[in-house]
Structure formats: structure tokens, C-alpha cells
């Protein structure tokens, strides 16, 4: 990373602190039997963690939104698409969709569309570790661990050191 990039790097919150704050906000509000569905890959890690931190019986599922993305015509199908796994009945379920970074809202739109192809959920809420603004669709998080403002040319990426979550910042070409 060049020195100029480092100077532009914003104050990124600690991912574990953000996760604790997110769980704190969810604890009093989340239904006892709500299912947690993480969007691959960062959201899947968070969904696993949250399901243990929030009281109740929470089935955990994972969703890969590649088949529902709106940029397929421009960028094609990305490699490494995973199976979506929803090991519970979506019809009538209360679902907490979980993602690492909420930005344009397009992944969430794709995920909601995919969920409806499994059945009609009773309710869908959205939990994100960090909301960086910059929405391009009328979508908002129900629960949010931290908020920050980041320049458009920077990408916030969640990584895992063993079990510990950590945010990194990457420069996006042409961003």
C-alpha cells in the first residue's frame, strides 16, 4: 500500500467491538426462533457468531447471491460461487439477513429476491457489522454494529484471523 493511500485510510472500527455492539442491539429485539442467514463470505462468519451470542433457537443458513446480482451482464459470473444452504423452512420464517458491510444495498436486494424463491418469509430484518453509507437502493439496516463514512475508492473487507474478525481496507481500481 502506498503512503498516500495510508493517509486516506479512515478510522476503521475494530470488527470484534462492532460485533459486540451489534449483538447488544439485537439481543432485546430479535425473535426467539429467528433464523440467521449470512451472505457469503463475511456475512456467513458473522451469522455463525451471532447465532451463539443471541438468546434463542436460531437456525443458521448461508446465501450466495451470485445468481441474483444485477451486474452479471457487465462482469459475468464470478468464480467460486457456493451453494446457498437454508436448512429450515423459509415459508413463514422470521429471517435476520446478516452481512458484513452495508454499502449500495445491491447485495441485500439480491439476497431478498433469492430468499423469496425458497418461500414467503413472515418477516426479513437486516443486521450488518458496519454501515458505510453510499446507498443506491432504498434499503436500511434493522441492526447495525458501527457506522462510518468512507471514500468511494476504498473497499472495506472483512477477514478472519483464526476465529477473530478483522476489517481491512483495499483500494478499488477506478472506484
Amino acid at each position: 500500500m502506498s503512503p498516500t493511500t495510508r493517509m486516506q485510510t479512515p478510522e476503521i472500527p475494530d470488527a470484534e467491538t462492532a460485533l459486540a455492539a451489534l449483538a447488544e442491539r439485537m439481543r432485546p429485539a430479535v425473535a426467539f426462533d429467528a433464523a440467521f442467514v449470512g451472505i457469503y463470505s463475511g456475512g456467513a462468519w458473522i451469522a455463525d457468531r451471532l447465532a451463539k451470542m443471541i438468546p434463542g433457537e436460531h437456525p443458521v443458513g448461508y446465501i450466495d447471491v451470485s445468481f441474483y446480482r444485477d451486474d452479471y451482464a457487465r462482469t459475468g459470473l464470478k468464480t467460486g460461487t457456493k451453494r446457498s444452504e437454508l436448512p429450515f423452512d423459509v415459508a413463514g420464517a422470521t429471517i435476520i439477513l446478516v452481512d458484513d458491510v452495508l454499502y449500495t444495498g445491491r447485495s441485500v436486494r439480491a439476497a431478498i429476491n433469492e430468499l423469496f424463491d425458497y418461500g414467503r418469509p413472515e418477516r426479513i430484518e437486516l443486521a450488518v457489522l458496519v454501515d458505510r453509507g453510499g446507498r443506491e437502493l432504498p434499503i436500511d439496516a434493522t441492526y447495525c454494529g458501527a457506522r462510518l463514512a468512507v471514500a468511494r475508492n476504498l473497499s472495506i473487507v472483512l477477514a478472519k484471523d483464526g476465529e477473530r474478525l478483522r476489517f481491512g481496507v483495499e483500494n478499488v481500481a477506478g472506484g
Partner: protein, 326 residues
């Protein structure tokens, strides 16, 4: 082989080395084949959902151009395209334009003018899908894609891919496997595609088993071991792929009779017992029971012939969604 050399040899790859047509598995880089198999995996799970469709090819038109009849292959391509939300147009060319004297490429130009996005081509002439792909590439129509659904004796890449997917599904990887391809290898585009795929993915032992008259003369050059004795060919195999014996072959001088063929090369429970206990038996269909395969094997617990059909739809979804995006 370098990426640049791949592109020169392969009209099916674009300038970035990505798959833009699927014409043959011969010379296709390993990571391209693995990417198709990996991508097919999430498509398999779509069939378990309430809505068995994804919106990837919404608004795209897939033209099934079958110059040679094949209800089964055409149907699986049609289902695959519809599950990707594409519009599907089936053309039985054998009985329309070709009989009026229109050339193949004139037919293609007309269909491109009707905004075709993908051509699925079955043709009795080897190389017909290549010709179409090169024609589109030469005329700057990189946005129109071709899938070979079987050309002459040459190639049937989606069948080869679904065979590879099936083997990987049951055996996890290719690096320790012995695979036997049994029967009429000479006339089989399925066998050729599968052998290329197996060797590219690092299968240590690929065998072809059959009478001399039904094996190509220089078949060893494909990197296979040749067996004329069925028992020897099957011994210790992890996978046995039976080929269809086309009835027209029996009318000529290649074979004495169907009964004689079954006696030597038909897969019976006794012969299969020579393979490994966890062997899987595959067949591209349609089967001739009592000619190349005994019903007790075809319907037995080692048979994965019907799962092959299911996986075939997912593999074709993967191929179409990859090429249409590149």
C-alpha cells in the same frame, strides 16, 4: 501451455482466457473445466427449492439448433435454459431451412438478426459448431455464444462434463482413480470428450475396453490403456462408463450379433464384481438393455445413470451462465 497459446488454439476462449463458446474439452485448460464443475454445484441445489429458477439469463434467447435428432439432449438444454429464465426457441433444422437449400451460416446470420444470444448446436457433421463460432468471432459478434451439443464423431462436451461432475460427486477427486470406458469408442463422441476431460483433470489410469473393430486405430495416443478382454479391463476399476452400442453398427461387418457382443462386453453383475466394491456404473443413455448392459446392473445399487441426467441439467446451466457472462 501458456495462456496465449491456449487462445490461439481455442476459438472457445476470449482474449482474457475465459470461456465464451463451449466446443470441445480437447485442449480446454484445467481451471476452465474445474470452474464449470464448481459452478454446476450450486445449480444442483436449485432443483430442491420451491422456485426452480434463477434470473441470470432473463431476457436472453437460447436457440436450440438440432440438425440431428436428439429429444433427450435437446430437452435437458431446454430445461437448463428455462431454469436460467432464458427464452428458448427450438428449431428442428433438418426439416426446414436446410431442406430449402439455405447454408448453415446463412441460417445463423438470420437467427442472429432475430437477436439470438446462445446457439445450442447438434450436427451430424464434425466441426459444425466450430464453424459457427469462428463465423461469429470473425464478424465481431462476441456477444453471441455457441454450445456444442454433439457434432459427428468429434465431441459432446456437455456430456463429458456431466460425466466428470458425476465422477467427482461420488469419488471426490480424480487423482487416485481407475476409469474404464467400455464399448463402441470408435463411433462415440461421448467417449472422446470424457477421455480428454479425465486426462486433463489428472486421472492416473483411463482404460478403453472393447473389440478391436470398435476402438479407434491409434486410441493409445489419447493417453489410455487398451483392453480387448472385458474381465482384465474391469479389474480394480473405480468407475465404469458403458457406451451405447448403436444398432446400425450391428448390421455391418464390425460385429457378429448383439447376443455375441453381450456375451463378451455386456456388463453383468458377475463381470462388475471384478471392479472395486464401491465402483460406480455410468451410461450416457439411451441404454440398450441386454446388449451393452444387463438390467440387474443398470437398475442395481452401483448404477448412477439417473443421477447423471439430473447433474446434466446443472452442468448445462453452469456452461450457459458462464459463457453468456464472458
Amino acid at each position: 501451455m501458456s495462456r496465449a497459446a491456449d487462445i490461439v488454439r481455442n476459438p472457445q476462449l476470449n482474449i482474457d482466457g475465459q470461456l465464451t463458446h463451449l466446443l470441445t474439452l480437447e485442449g480446454l485448460p484445467e481451471q476452465v473445466i474445474r470452474n464449470i464443475l464448481d459452478t454446476a454445484d450450486p445449480f444442483v441445489s436449485i432443483t430442491e427449492r420451491e422456485v426452480k429458477k434463477v434470473p441470470l439469463l432473463r431476457g436472453k434467447a437460447v436457440f436450440n439448433l438440432f440438425f440431428e435428432n436428439s429429444t433427450r439432449t435437446r430437452t435437458t438444454f431446454e430445461i437448463a435454459a428455462k431454469r436460467l429464465s432464458a427464452d428458448v426457441i427450438n428449431l428442428n433444422i433438418g426439416v426446414s431451412s436446410a431442406s430449402k437449400g439455405e447454408t448453415l451460416l446463412d441460417t445463423i446470420d438470420n437467427l442472429v438478426a432475430m437477436d439470438a444470444d446462445i446457439f445450442v448446436v447438434r450436427h451430424a457433421q464434425s466441426g459444425a459448431p466450430h464453424l459457427i463460432a469462428q463465423h461469429l468471432n470473425a464478424h465481431g459478434r462476441r456477444d453471441v455464444h455457441v454450445v456444442n451439443a454433439g457434432d459427428g464423431r468429434h465431441s459432446h462436451p456437455t456430456q463429458g462434463l456431466l460425466d466428470l461432475y458425476t465422477i467427482r460427486h461420488y469419488k471426490k477427486d480424480f487423482h487416485n482413480l481407475t476409469v474404464a470406458v467400455v464399448g463402441d469408442v470408435l463411433h462415440s463422441r461421448v467417449a472422446r470428450s470424457l477421455i480428454h476431460g479425465l486426462t486433463t483433470l489428472g486421472t492416473p489410469e483411463v482404460r478403453v475396453v472393447g473389440p478391436k473393430t470398435l476402438l479407434p486405430s491409434k486410441v493409445e495416443s489419447l493417453g489410455v490403456r487398451v483392453f480387448h478382454n472385458m474381465a482384465e479391463g474391469l479389474r480394480g476399476c473405480d468407475v465404469v462408463v458403458m457406451l451405447r452400442l448403436q444398432s446400425e453398427r450391428m448390421k455391418g461387418t464390425l460385429l457378429p450379433s448383439a447376443g455375441e457382443y453381450f456375451k463378451h462386453y455386456g456388463l453383468t453383475p458377475d463381470k462388475l464384481a471384478l471392479a472395486k466394491p464401491d465402483v460406480i456404473v455410468m451410461h450416457p443413455g439411451p441404454m440398450n438393455r441386454g446388449v451393452e448392459i444387463d438390467s440387474a446392473v443398470a437398475d442395481g445399487d452401483r448404477s448412477v445413470i439417473l443421477p447423471q441426467v439430473t447433474f446434466g441439467i446443472a452442468v448445462r446451466m453452469a456452461v450457459m451462465s458462464i459463457i453468456a457472462g464472458n
